[in-house]
Amino acid sequence: MSAVLVSSPHGSRPNRVDRVMQEVLLALVPGVLAMIWFFGWGVLINIALAVTVAVAAEAAVMRVRRRPIAPAIGDYSAVVTAVLFAISVPPTLPWWMTLLGMLFAIVLVKQLYGGIGYNPFNPAMAAYVFLLVSYPVAMTTWLAPDMLAEHAVSFTESLGLIFGGALPSGVEWDAISAATPLDEMRGKLDQGMLIEEIRLSPLWGDFGGRGWEWVANGFLLGGVYLLWRRIITWHIPVSMLAALAVAAGAFWLLDPTTHPFPAFHLFSGAAILGAFFIATDPVSACTTKTGQLIFGASIGLLVFVIRTWGGYPDAVAFAVLLMNIAAPTIDHYTQPRVFGHTGNRANP
């Protein structure tokens, strides 16, 4: 028998942080496969690089903090941060930017606040925004989806791009890159073009950008898996996507010539990924159910507002970070009614 008497419950506990994180990684697989399919090996190289740097940084900080290293690495949280970051950045991002981003995410955003569970901001998104603001060109140069590219970038060519910044011989940037659907839409709208004209470009698929919409479908599949496995609840993803769709729908109904169809907003850019994998990061999101609905809906609205009137083509990272700031306050005012209490809980 154990020497220390421990308080109940006594049975085995099925849930574990590392299993939660492993499930999240598993759920990312379809989307990541779609990304690799459409955008080449760079995606995989970025993931490998980011994971290596993140885990090493986590270990180094734990060592400096004189805390046990194994549990910190073993909970896979740094891996999840790294993968989310790596799939958010362009597949040709220079290696040192990934390194910088991951150091920023793990050392500053996560560990300086006390490590897992204590960070007020989503580390992957903070790192993404940090790089986007610092290196806007590199962070917005995307490869064209496979079927639109004149030249398919091979594995070694990807390595060359990432680690040497060298284009494959005889290939220009234009041959391999293309504007992202959100960029394209935004740029053309700013030029005064109508949606119908813009949609004539071969960049477009059924809902969003060609290729991109399949990436979104992959993440949607993963998101449904997370819901089924009860890793996340429906509150944040549904409220975020619903708010985005409602806002986009309202403007589209008002003027369909200058406002894209709501499905465009959902299936282009990072909306689906953000709704299921980023906004749901439990550490930096709201925890009360009502709070989560407000949190999700606010992110959805902010995404629409920033995409439509803001200075950046995509907005998930900014919207998530802004709502991260608001999360504790929202939680405070949305506490549920406790069993046996009448009316809402008096706010302490």
Partner: protein
């Protein structure tokens, strides 16, 4: 339309927030009939097996006691009598380890049994209780030492006396038995359904004839059937309903079961009687029937001995005071070395250090868990704020916030987050992916709050005493000054009198001087004579 019909149906069930599905493990022990445990050589009967004051011993060490004889009398209103569970010699009344989470010792009556199991003279049966005064019946239940056998062990007679201005509309008989592994209520319902109903009928009489709702989780179909058959043979059908409720831990919690069966919520800090409901465990109902209809005190109970470390898990009818180690031995001992020995269920029971501790009235289960059943959860990791705890909390609390504030020892904040609405069911800790011992933090915080309130109370008392003392000193000072002033005034008011006084004093002094001088002279004279 169908929805409205279901709303209007009388057997509608409600739900409570959260709750968890845990493997019930009841099949381990519910396969065999209850077996009567042989008489042990020694019985160690704690004098406090209930909530309330320790009972006062009424027998002397060395005395021969009989089965069912009163050993200790209830002291005060909230207390319960303790009886000898077999005949023999009372060899000691001494501290002995008892089943308590603290692992501490408490006063116990130790009986060396004589093997004859002779009954003491029992009070007469109250078969015609409907014609008796309720007070008399309650007094019998109190004498029999009946307490809540579901685990809380609150004296039943107190619960059956809600007071004249409290109308009880519903009596709930709790046969939910939602804790995994435990099957003693299941077996009791299968084997003694008639007695349970008889007890419920007595309570129905005592409480002013409320309706009776019996809740049984749907993982106990045999018990449900048995209760149904038994009910069909009684005259109670007009006001009694047996309801099968979905298996969901902790549906057997008093507040949760009341919610499931009636849709009502017991207000915070209140007892169910406040909303006209009394809830009793099936075991308590059977014990009430024994006390009233047979005149027998509560001296035994059904205990589930289970867990995969036990060779042959089963239910035993055990005399109060039998050592737990005897129960385990009777069930074939250990199959493998247990990692944990628990009194009660895996969700709310407490670990016991001494297998020598005795079975008490609320002890429903002895659980020996293997390494596989209760693996070491490992060190707690940081909270990732996933919120699963809040999803499963049946009290709809925010366990995570409670944890932060309990850990920070912020006793005001934990109370703001309604710490005292926590029923310690353990759902939050069970689902926590970081394996944080949440309930332990809440127990700690509750104890700290109680300790602080106690300190406050003491400080308040000390302050009152100090103030009273200050007031007394001031009053005495005032009174002294008043007396002096009065004297002074009276002196000033009558100077003539004071003159005569002074003359008299002077005269007295003069007289005394003269007496002293005469004495001196006489002494000197005597000395001279001596010298001569």
């Amino acid at each position: 339309m169908a929805a409205i019909q279901s709303l209007l149906r009388r057997d509608r069930l409600w739900t409570f927030h959260g709750g968890i599905h845990v493997p019930d493990e009841k099949a381990l022990s519910n396969g065999r009939a209850v077996e009567v445990m042989p008489l042990p050589k020694r019985l160690v009967i704690p004098l406090q097996q209930h909530i309330g004051a320790t009972a006062r011993p009424v027998v002397n060490v060395g005395e021969r006691v009989l089965k069912g004889q009163l050993l200790a009398q209830a002291e005060g209103y909230v207390s319960a009598c303790i009886h000898a569970s077999s005949s023999g010699t009372l060899v000691a009344i001494e501290p002995h380890p008892v089943p308590h989470p603290s692992g501490l010792s408490a006063l116990c009556a130790v009986i060396e049994t004589d093997g004859e199991d002779t009954w003491a003279e029992l009070p007469e049966r109250m078969t015609q209780y409907a014609q008796l005064d309720p007070t008399e019946i309650r007094e019998r239940i109190r004498w029999a030492g009946v307490v809540g056998l579901g685990g809380a062990s609150f004296p039943t007679s107190v619960k059956l006396n809600p007071g004249p201005d409290q109308r009880i509309r519903t009596l709930i008989i709790n046969g939910a038995e939602c804790e995994p592994y435990i099957t003693c209520d299941d077996l009791l319902m299968r084997e003694r359904a008639g007695d349970i109903l008889a007890g419920a009928r007595i309570m129905h009489h005592l409480l002013g004839e409320p309706r009776i709702l019996i809740g049984i989780e749907d993982n106990k179909p045999e018990a449900f059937e048995a209760m149904h058959f038994a009910l069909a043979e009684t005259d109670m059908r007009g006001y009694t309903e047996i309801r099968s409720i979905p298996t969901l831990y902790p549906s057997g919690g008093e507040k949760q079961l009341i919610r499931i069966l009636t849709g009502e919520e017991v207000p915070t800090h209140a007892i169910p009687a406040r909303i006209g409901i009394v809830c009793q465990n099936v075991g308590s109902a059977a014990a009430v029937a024994d006390a009233v209809l047979k005149g027998r005190p509560l001296i035994s109970r059904v205990v589930t001995v289970t867990g995969r470390a036990i060779a042959e898990p089963r239910n035993l009818e055990v005399r109060i005071g039998t050592p737990v180690s005897d129960l385990i031995a009777h069930c074939g001992g250990y199959r493998e070395r247990p990692r944990k020995l628990v009194c009660g269920g895996p969700m709310m029971g407490f670990e016991i250090a001494h297998p020598e501790i005795p079975v008490t009235k609320p002890a429903n289960c002895v659980l020996a868990l293997t390494e596989a059943e209760a693996p070491d959860p490992g060190p707690a990791l940081a909270c990732i704020r996933c919120g699963r705890c809040a999803e499963v909390c049946p009290a709809k609390l925010l366990p995570q916030q409670l944890y932060w504030h309990a850990r920070a020892k912020d006793l005001d904040r934990v109370q703001d987050y309604n710490l005292f609405d926590c029923i310690e069911c353990g759902c939050c800790a069970q689902v926590c992916p970081s394996h944080i011992p949440l309930v332990q933090y809440y127990r700690y915080a509750k104890n700290e709050v109680w300790a602080r309130e106690e300190d406050k109370r003491k400080a308040e008392l000390a302050r009152l005493r100090h103030e009273a003392k200050q007031a007394r000193i001031e009053r005495q000072e005032r009174e002294r000054k008043a007396r002096l002033r009065q004297k002074k005034e009276s002196l000033e008011a009558s100077p003539g009198k004071s003159q005569t006084d002074q003359d008299a004093k002077k005269a007295a002094i003069e007289a005394a001087k003269q007496r002293a001088a005469a004495k001196k002279a006489a002494a000197a004279k005597a000395e001279e004579t001596d010298d001569a």
